[in-house]
């Protein structure tokens, strides 16, 4: 059974159709990329999957369950985690504090007015694991708001990972980054995909990242699906080229 099944989802804002009858099926363990020109509706699409917005019509099924009307926090509990186009973290807290909160919430401790030493230690261990995985060892005690773009993004991804998600949504993880940082984030995502066997859906503009990572690609343009296929197929697709070249011109 597929992990995520988006069925004919449409989202309107008044007369503007941001997402137009889009369907997508993601199998467990896949790394799917969603690409398209600016304004194609990619982030709105993510907002629909993560629960930030409700679809005007259509269904979203996650692991056999209809989550179309489920609130964002509840989708997180079901196993969907996401990052945002503009990195959303806790700027005046340190990396470890950021991760600690994520780990505690994931462990179900969010309402606890007190935590035992044993559990606290468990949390610390997990936090350090994530710090290592994200390559944040050098900056673990620094305020996240002061970190480089790449480190902030890694922090955000690690926070999402702390939630032990079954589906990870990454919205333009390499946006605004230079070559070196892009490379590091790409490596991080690859590690997550391979070692943690995470199912990942990725919005990206950077083609190198896409072709490096994606199993399949879905192309959105003006809210609708333009094409779908393997990287090779998409690379050769003329309609896709036109959509992008049209943008460039």
């Amino acid at each position: 059974m597929s992990l995520l099944s988006v069925q004919n989802v449409t989202r309107r804002f008044g007369s503007l159709v941001a997402v137009d009858n889009v369907s997508m099926t993601v199998e467990p363990g896949e790394l799917r990329a969603v690409i398209g020109p600016n304004g194609a509706g990619k982030t709105t699409f993510f907002n629909l999957i993560s629960g930030f917005l409700r679809p005007t019509s259509g269904r979203i099924v996650f692991d056999g369950e209809d989550i179309t009307d489920l609130l964002p926090a509840r989708r997180v509990w079901r196993g969907i985690a996401r990052t945002f186009q503009i990195t959303e973290v806790f700027p005046e807290l340190t990396v470890r504090e950021n991760l600690r909160i994520a780990v505690e919430v994931a462990a179900g401790y969010r309402l606890r007015p007190w935590i035992s030493r044993a559990r606290s230690t468990e949390v610390d261990i997990r936090v350090d694991e994530l710090v290592g995985l994200g390559g944040l060892g050098a900056v673990r005690d620094r305020l996240v708001g002061e970190l480089s773009h790449g480190d902030q993004r890694a922090n955000e991804i690690m926070m999402a990972l702390a939630l032990k998600p079954r589906l990870l949504l990454l919205d333009e993880p390499t946006a605004g980054m230079g070559d070196q940082e892009t490379y590091e984030i790409t490596q991080l995502i690859r590690r997550l995909h391979r070692d943690q066997r995470l199912t990942i859906v990725l919005i990206e503009h950077d083609m190198r990242v896409i072709f490096h990572l994606a199993d399949r690609i879905m192309v959105l343009a003006e809210g609708a699906v333009l094409a779908e296929g393997t990287p090779a197929e998409i690379g050769a697709d003329e309609a896709v080229q036109a959509a992008y070249l049209g943008q460039a011109a």
């Binding site: 997180v76 806790f90 919430v105 606890r112």
Partner: protein, 316 residues
């Protein structure tokens, strides 16, 4: 400031507070003033639980303060002349109001939330003011006093003995503060920090934001009501002015002045504010202008507060 530095500071503060009645006279104060600082500091710190640590601006906390004030006054005057029962009533009434009102407003945010808290604050002021048969109206509720606490084996004369009252206030203060501090250090407390730092991210970690804000609101208001009961007992009087928006504003400015991001900040803010207000109102008729000017200056030049300023210095 390292961890041991913080702990030393904590100990120093507790020692100072514990012994205040004994050294306050040397610096030109008097025990009742110390009680006043303690009570208002409790109010300001309770507000700051919501404001500085959860990131939610309430400008109507005087309502719950006032419910504590009138709760204890009305109970002692009309129901049972017993201080502890009166305090319990005050806290319960304040808490109940907070539970209900919190549920109504918790979906709102930012300026809208602040406006609504102001309006609700006004509701209670208006009730205290208008229902003068019961509350004494503009004249306030007088004709009652704090009742010495009869513990069976001994009676604590909080009425005649200023020091005794101070220690009653201190015990309440210490209990409330200890609970709040423990909560802020707990996983629950950290979810509040998360909400302050980035509400969207908190929501997308799976934190039910509205529920947690409601909890923080209720905790904050309950302890402010406690402060209100102590305040009324201190003055042997219930004043509708304790419910007005300027009282709410005073609490906020105490928190900001001392430093919203630090735990002890509001205590320092309260101390400064109380002393300043005491001094200014005895010197001039136009104390209102001075307080207003004070607000303006703090906002423009001192937004991080006293402790905020100090933190920056140690970092550099």
């Amino acid at each position: 400031m390292g961890v041991s530095g913080k702990r030393a500071a904590d100990v120093a503060v507790w020692v100072l507070l514990l012994t205040m009645p004994y050294w306050l006279n040397w610096v030109g104060g008097y025990t009742a003033l110390g009680s006043r600082v303690l009570v208002l500091a409790l109010a300001a710190m309770s507000l700051n639980f919501l404001l500085g640590f959860t990131g939610v601006l309430s400008f109507g906390h005087a309502a719950y303060f006032g419910l504590g004030v009138y709760g204890v006054g009305l109970t002692i005057k009309y129901l049972v002349p017993n201080t502890l029962i009166g305090m319990a009533v005050g806290v319960l009434v304040g808490g109940a109001a907070a539970v209900v009102i919190g549920a109504l407003i918790v979906r709102l945010r930012g300026v809208y939330f602040a406006m609504v808290t102001i309006a609700f604050g006004q509701v209670f002021y208006f009730i205290a003011f208008r229902w003068n048969v019961v509350t004494g109206g503009d004249d306030g509720l007088s004709g009652w006093r704090r009742v010495p606490i009869d513990l069976g084996f001994t009676t604590i004369d909080i009425l005649g003995n200023d020091k005794a009252f101070y220690y009653l206030a201190f015990i309440c203060f210490a209990g409330a503060i200890a609970i709040m501090a423990a909560l802020l250090r707990s996983p629950f407390g950290r979810t509040l920090l998360a909400i302050r730092e980035n509400e969207r991210r908190a929501r997308f970690l799976g934190i039910p934001v509205e529920f947690h804000i409601w909890l923080s609101w209720v905790i904050s208001c309950v302890f402010v009501s406690l402060a209100g009961t102590l305040y009324a007992l201190l003055n042997n009087f219930a004043d509708p002015h304790d419910l007005r928006w300027d009282q709410s504003g005073d609490f906020v400015i105490m928190a900001v002045l001392g430093g919203m991001r630090s735990f002890w900040g509001p205590l320092i803010g309260a101390a400064i504010f109380v002393v300043l207000q005491d001094y200014v109102s005895s010197e001039t008729q136009n104390w209102m202008s001075f307080i207003g000017l004070f607000f303006v200056l703090v906002v423009l030049f001192f937004p991080r507060g006293v402790l905020g300023l100090m933190q920056r210095r140690t970092a550099a």
